[in-house]
Amino acid sequence: MKTIFTLTIFSICVLLAPISMAADPLPTEEDYYKIVKFEIPKDVVLEAGAIELTTDNKLFVSSRRGEIWSIENPFAKDPAKDAKWTRFAHGLHEVLGLASKDGWIYATQRGELTKLKDSNGDGKADIFQTVSDAWEINGDYHEYAFGSKFDKDGNIWIVLCLTGSFNSNSKYRGWCVRVNADGTFTPTCSGIRSPGGIGFNSLGDCFYTDNQGPWNGTCSLKHLLPGSFQGHPDGNKWFDLAKEAKLAGPKPETPKSGSRMMVEAQRIPQLMPPAIYFPYKKMGQSASGIDFDKSEGKFGPFQNQLFVADQTNSTIMRVHLEKVHGRYQGACFPFKKGFGSGNVPVMATKNGHLFVGGTNRGWGSHGNKPFALERLDWTGKIPFEIHEMHAKNDGFEFTFTHPIDPKTASDIASYKISTYCYIYQSAYGSPEVDFTYPKITSAVVAPDNKSVRIVVDKPVAGHIHDLTLAGVRSKDGLPLLHPEAYYTLNYIPEAGK
């Protein structure tokens, strides 16, 4: 065994070398998307927790040290030079959510949702009004609270991390709650473990990321359907309380540890299987902030798709969702690496930029800066990528951002597939288990050379389908910028759909 490892490691190194030395180098991520750095004022420790853009194009960034900074000119070509920084507020308790409405900034602190206002126009907040403190904290550092922007009904969605990320020792820990601007508090979903971010898709449905740990085999993106149970049972102890607060539906049964997610989801109707699993290490290790591309093409070809950050790997991942059997599922793809610190908040703007904030305090990251604020800009060139991935009854359909070379795309040797899932258990995390290696029996390229349909013998419901399209080339002979795709196949669509 040992010799095999050795060979693999070194052969990879050897293989890499000639590629990078080739005369006509392959394009890299940098050719399509560029990271633009902000220069954070000296002596400011901006461990970014949340980002909000107000209607007057001011960027607000909150920090884990409790400050909120407002930044003018955030879209400047060189923000390191032209952005203007003002401290809007300080002294808050680890703000991991920012939203704005009617001249107020809404900040989700550990123990409450607070709205802030600069009433005398000196650029600094002077009113700090509690909107809701209906949940509780007890002094445990893990009891984080991540807040969303406003939804179309005027609610901020807040996901409340468990105590120590294992138990629920304070009220509503392990819950997603909604708070209206007037303070109306609605417990919404149970089963949260350790969120890293929260946001909406283009249809306004709310999602959050949860992290590998008990009852979470790996990090994932989960749909916060009101009334659903997201998988970690400890917070269910607040169910009676939540019922008083008008949460509909009965308390979910406690899942059986050591089972599989889809086995339990058959049994427990409220249990919401993750829409996307991010395979551990392969995609990331700490899924965090979420936003969707609302730029209508100004950010490249991925309109309405979700971008999800990873703190450990300092990356942004891309997610394409579809609904099968009435529930979201879909595929995730690598998108952009190389951010300065551990990515936590992200915010996509209508004019086609993606703001990314970072911190690696307490949790290390590939990006080695202790904190960072960056902006991802599209260069205008379209990368050759998988555009969308759809589950079919007997396989998958891929669409691409460029026309494909029908010869390589119809060759089944261009594709590699394996499937696996995770143990759904109370212990921390899970290895990948129940591996299958189905055969790809055909790959048929559409007449317009824009998509390919592969038939798989056979797909396994409840498994991640781990695909590599290493052999597929574009019409111009380019390999995919990211040939990997991981589809979370909770449900197999019926034939013909």
Binding site: M1, K2, T3, F5, T6, T8, I9, F10, I12, C13, L16, V45, R64, R65, G66, H90, G91, L92, H93, E94, Q109, R110, G111, E112, N120, A125, D126, I127, F128, Q129, T130, D133, E136, I137, N138, G139, Y141, H142, G164, S165, F166, Q212, G213, K281, Q285, T312, N313, N360, R361, G362, W363, G364, S365, H366, N368, P370, A427, Y428, G429, P431
Partner: protein, 931 residues
Amino acid sequence: MKNKFAILPLFLLVSFVIAEAASAADAIKKPIVPGFERFSKDKDFDQVQLGLLLLGELNCTSCHDSGSITKGLIQSKQAPLLDKVGGRIKPEYFESFLSKTHEVKPGTSMPQVNLGNTDQEKQANAKSLAHYLAQQAGANEKLNFDAKQVALGKTLFAQSGCVACHAGRDQNAREISNVNNSVPLGALESKYTVASLANFLDNPHQVRPSGRMPAVLKDKKECHAVACYLLQGAKSSTKAAKVLNFEYYEGSWTKLPDFSKLKPISKGTASDFDVEVAQKPNNNAIRFEGWFKLQSAGKYTFHLGSDDGSKILVDGKLVIDNDGIHPHTVVSKTVELYKGEHKVEVGIFDGGGDYSLTVEIEGNNLPRQPLSGICSIDEKTAEASGQTPKPETSSQPTVFKLDTDLANKGRDLFASVGCANCHALNQNNKRIPAMIKGPDLLKLRAETGCLSENPQGKSPNFALDASQKTAIALALKHLATNPQSPDDKALVNKTFLSLNCYACHQRDKIGGAEEIRNTSFVSTQPEMGDEGRLPPALTGVGAKLNPDWLKQVLEQGTKVRPYMMTRMPRYGSGNVIHLVKALDKADPIEPVDAIQFADSAAKVKSSGRQLVGSKALGCIKCHTFNNQKAEGIQALDLVSMPQRLKRDWFQRYMLDPQPFRPGTRMPAPWPMGKTFFDDILEGNTKKQIEGIYVYLSAGTKASPPEGLSRESIVLVPDKEPIIYRNFIEGAGARAIGVGYPEKVNMAFDANSLRIALIWQGAFIDAARHWRDRGVGYQPPLGDNIVTFPAGPTFATLSSEKENWPTITNKEQAGSFLSYKTDDSGRPSFQYKYADVMINDFSVPTKNKEGGFSRTLTLESKSPPSQLFLRAAVGTKIEEQKDNWFLVDGEYKFRLPGVKKSILRESNGKKEILVPITFENGTCKIVQEYSW
């Protein structure tokens, strides 16, 4: 069984049950060899190896000459050394153990020795041997049972590693019987005293040199605690514990009354379903209530006996109705119960005459026994309390009297019946020689001698079961082929089997924590997942660890993973030292070529240091460094790495950790072999890895990397106040700290709506919350910290005599609304209590002593009556000049403008209350503090 019990008088039954319960695993007779028990069920496992394992564990070669059989094939377990055994083991134990070996110590590898031809002879010989062994006196230091040590003993037993091989105790201090593959401990209390058991635990190899029982405990104190835990079941301990709640009623009935409509005369706790708790002999009723836990689901029979009527309800459902006026009548009924906690309620009444109650349970491995024996007061006490039984000293006096004549007889028997074959016992510095010789090992045949159904004559009876006999037969057959000595891999496997290393460690897909024990492996850092809790897999460990380190681990144990509660125990050097060489050879690693650095040696070192630091790879974010804590999880100390790890392994592991430790959280610092740092050591991955290894090779002398120390972050208010919302010690989880440039500070508690602390000088050090993950509460940094007592600032009281309320949840305190900062950045707090809006604004006073002037402005459209402000609480409140009051000599306050205040005693303290009177819906109070 049931019938037999039924005709026994009750008192006999009870005593029988207690004696039986002590050896819960009464079904086991065969010898329990954990490796065999676990792996013989696995069809793919090499059964020959398991047979050889048994030949060693049962010490067959002590009677059967192994002749030319190659060394290493059988690793024999030596029987306990019996010098001074009389000092270690209670004298009463010898006789019963010798005459009923398998019954008294279930699972023992000691065979039942044939002590004679008739029962009488056997009995007499057992007695003689017992006296002989008791004569081998030895001293024990004085160590008594200490109930306070039981809880610690329980934790140590559960977490340090004992449960890897043994089962723990249930809530009634009985050995849990359903944990598979456990080496039963049997009725320890009849064998050991606290002192002798503690002594044994401290150094098990002194009497059991073959290391099957390793030394896991750190010191005498831990040994004492575990001994107390294991021996807590001694004597009448369960009687002493209160396991039931009861309510006592009086009245005259002919049937059980409806308790829900009655008010009890008294309530209390009881140790049994016993009518003794009644305050008078007749015309009363008692309702008992408790919880019991079943280890398995199945059918259970309840036996309810009473004079007069009684009923029993389990989980709220009526199980037995034994109502009405009658003499003591037992009614039995069988019900299906699930595994886990059940609530039991028993009601009984007496209408006159005799009065009695018995409640028993039986079924599913539970012999018939009083139900109270497995009851506890509530669902949780069973786990949490660690009952406090009576100390052992209250037991009956020793009845054993040594008879030297018998002992002399025993000495002869010791050799003649075969004890001396296995057990070393020195007389006049010479081991008593064996007198029995069995056939040579290679001449043994299945189903004869020890292997026959009923061993006769001198053949001892090991009570082997069929699978054990089959495995032994296979092993004997294998030995007959004159096999070669095991290679290094096989030798490792053999040792792992006999020492049961597989109970904790996996190697080459064999072993690892069994599912039933898995949860016993715990970590101080649950976030590390299985890596932080389960002992590491040992696949390829010979390639990984330096032989010197491995030797140290094997001989002395190790604690390099301080977060892992399970310890690597000590097996005794002689039993494991061969593993150092065997593992090194069994797990070869291909060397990585030597590295030629362009840089100087000093530069290589400093580059390694740079890489480890927070501005490069940030290894110190997760790994401790020379005992200094990391920011996040506290993974293995970096400075221990080169001492532990082979350089070639380190080079390969750092490139890609996953293949070596599947599932590890250790990221690949050089993904795909590429570096993030082109300017360090020529941007060469191998050189960078080597640089780290070289740097860390200085061990504890390695100079600390950048970003290691947690420097303080003192918040200094300069022109404007600094606000700090965080976990502040004394002000709660929703504290709002305010530091003023005037060098006075306060912390407002937004949950209980009060100023919780005021202090002078430095404000606060934010490093605890801002340097790493932010664990815990931070106290104020300055001086003269005044902590105000808990409780709300305002309350409505029905009278001036009513105690000031205590707050149990934040809603009772009112609601926190907001704070606003003025032009100088000073916050005023707004909150609401009973329809009153309160504005609470403090400003530092300018006098030289320092202090605050606090203005409380109240507004209400419907002012409540009897609303009070509690201005001060103290043991001593003294009035001083200028209207100041001194509280406990600590701080002064005054209430300028307040016309009426009340000094009162409440809850044993002095309080000053200010009644609030509203004018036009408002009220304003100023309170000045100085200290």
